[in-house]
């Protein structure tokens, strides 16, 4: 009982593309904009969007910063080419450096990484506003649960098609959607500084963490019960500590309720009402 339950990948792809089609229809907007990082998550999200709404309704942006690897841009170009969608490159280097200087965070790689992630969000939402688009999120369930994202940065999007999909299954979706091999095989990275990998930062990789998260978050097994099932206890502790530490990112903000009509508390309403 130490592996993740299987998911039918063709059905998963089909329902997710229908989700993207319906969200676009319900919004009344004209398409999606997606930031291509050169990694797997954005490649899979973009491939689903192409299948859902057609390549003519998808705008792809590459948003490299001064610390991004050259390989990331090459990979983003490869994904765009494989999808038959043009790739617009907006170099965030000068802007990010200027802002980092103003804020005094140029030498702090974590702050600078967050700044870059948030500048990407600014670029994506600006494109959305300019062209009447929804911002296509790329976060997967594993990184959301672990809080491995920048608040109001890469986590900010209009929709998250992969937000309930384990990273383990994102790999399978990528293979099914024929994402270029080089992207399927490269280690996951936020690419916020040279040589960064998710596994090195987290202290474990997603394939190890996903079954632990599944049996705890979905099935309700305690830390002790996970140990009894054969998961290494040091790994369980590390994964669950991260899971607990970053939980505030699941709900990025809280409104102070001082009335009987507090938004999303006393009044939970459909997102896209129309008469």
């Amino acid at each position: 009982m130490t592996s993740l339950p299987a998911v039918d990948i063709p059905l998963l792809a089909e329902v997710l593309q229908r989700f993207l089609a319906e969200e676009l229809r319900a919004s009344g907007l004209s398409g999606y904009v997606c930031g291509l990082s050169g990694g797997l998550d954005s490649a899979v999200a973009a491939a689903l969007a192409v299948r859902a709404v057609g390549r003519e309704k998808l705008r792809l942006l590459a948003l490299p910063g001064p610390t991004s690897s050259a390989e990331s841009l090459t990979h983003a170009q490869e994904v765009a080419k494989s999808l038959g969608v043009g790739l617009e490159v907006l170099d965030l280097g000068p802007t990010s450096q200027l802002l980092a200087q103003t804020l005094g965070c140029a030498s702090d790689r974590l702050r600078f990484g967050n700044l870059l992630a948030r500048l990407r969000m600014v670029a994506l939402f600006d494109a959305a506003r300019a062209h009447g688009l929804l911002v296509l999120g790329t976060a997967n369930k594993s990184e959301i649960l672990l809080g491995y994202s920048t608040l109001f940065g890469d986590q900010a999007a209009s929709v998250h098609p992969l937000g309930d999909v384990w990273k383990t299954h994102v790999f399978a979706l990528g293979a099914y959607l024929q994402i270029p091999e080089v992207i399927l095989k490269k280690p996951p990275t936020a690419d916020l500084w040279p040589g960064q990998t998710d596994a090195a930062e987290l202290g474990f990789d997603y394939l190890e963490a996903d079954p632990i998260l599944y049996y705890h978050h979905d099935q309700g097994l305690s830390e002790a019960e996970l140990g009894a099932q054969g998961f290494p206890s040091a790994l369980v502790s590390k994964v669950l500590a991260t899971y607990r530490r970053n939980r505030f990112k699941w709900r990025p903000t809280v409104i102070a309720r001082v009335s009987t009509s507090c938004i999303n508390v006393d009044r939970i309403l459909p997102r896209n009402p129309k008469p």
Partner: protein
């Protein structure tokens, strides 16, 4: 032929309208109703069954406060008019005279309201929060359509087998399950929620020996997947129509023979054999426990 010589067929064509609705987009939802109605007319259906809260969408949250309607609401006019030719069972949040809102299935025919069933069991667990927005129904009676008495179960009602048993005891000749059944993806190519529904619908039909019609919605609402698969099965477990696909809107026309349905209940009189005194004993035991504290 001797066995069936006295058998007068009483055929009724029922259409299951599997549509994708959007919460709070009434015009869009109404358009889906008329699309299904057109298909149902072509199939010469006499009654068209729409899913739970078909007119407004399911995940309304507090949106029910804006969208709830009474039976005289002008927004029902196009459906009343359409019901001149064919009976329609539609789902809507029903504003009650004394306050409160019910999750209702309303049967319209010849421009009139023929009957209303208010959902009895409001799921309030996991992703469900219906108890927060709706009042539960208080009675369970078949709706008196001129062709047959229709026992209506709204979604979770069908997860309590007592509901179908009571409806059949009260004379229901057809059982109709209208659902907004959410689903998840598991290890095979049928959504997990749909598999659960087919077990329930099949078991309901077989244990009550009554034709059972399942109209589910499909598509997405507010990030929640619904898994279609509308299906009809007779009292002996034979498919009458469908199942519809999981993901696409569809209209499934199903012909049922009411005389055959009665024969089934004669040959397999399972509902007639229900031991109601056991139920009564359990109710009394429960009452005693409550009294004793």
């Amino acid at each position: 032929m001797t066995v069936l010589s006295n058998w007068q067929r009483e055929r009724v064509t029922v259409a299951l309208a599997q549509i994708a609705t959007c919460p709070g987009q009434l015009a869009h939802n109404l358009e889906a109703h008329f699309w299904a109605l057109e298909q149902a007319r072509k199939a010469k259906a006499e009654v068209v069954i729409f899913p739970e809260l078909s007119l407004t969408g399911y995940l309304l949250g507090h949106g029910v406060l804006e969208l709830a309607m009474d039976l005289e609401d002008p927004r029902l006019k196009p459906l009343r008019e359409a019901s001149q030719e064919v009976a329609l069972l539609v789902g809507l949040p029903l504003r009650e005279r004394g306050g409160g809102i019910a999750n209702a299935a309303v049967l319209l025919h010849r421009g009139q309201i023929v009957g209303v069933h208010r959902k009895l069991y409001l799921p309030t667990y996991g992703m469900f929060d219906e108890g927060r927005y709706f009042l539960p129904g208080r009675s369970l009676t078949p709706l008196p359509w001129h062709r047959a008495k229709i026992g209506v179960l709204v979604c979770e009602d069908a997860w309590h087998p007592t509901s179908a048993s009571i409806l059949v005891r009260r004379g229901a000749e057809l059982l109709v399950v209208v659902a907004g059944g959410p689903s998840e993806v598991s290890g095979d190519d049928v959504p997990q929620g749909l598999k659960r529904w087919h077990w329930i619908v099949g078991a309901t039909a077989i244990t009550t020996v009554t034709p059972t019609f399942f109209a589910n919605r499909c598509g997405w609402e507010e990030g929640i997947l619904f898994s279609g698969g509308s299906w009809a099965v007779d009292g002996r477990g034979r498919t009458l129509g469908g199942p519809a696909p999981a993901c696409d809107p569809a209209v499934i026309a199903c012909e049922v023979d009411l005389a055959m349905a009665r024969r089934h209940r004669t040959l397999a009189p399972i509902p007639h054999a229900e031991r109601w005194e056991l139920w009564q004993a359990e109710v009394e035991r429960n009452r005693d426990e409550l009294t004793r504290g």
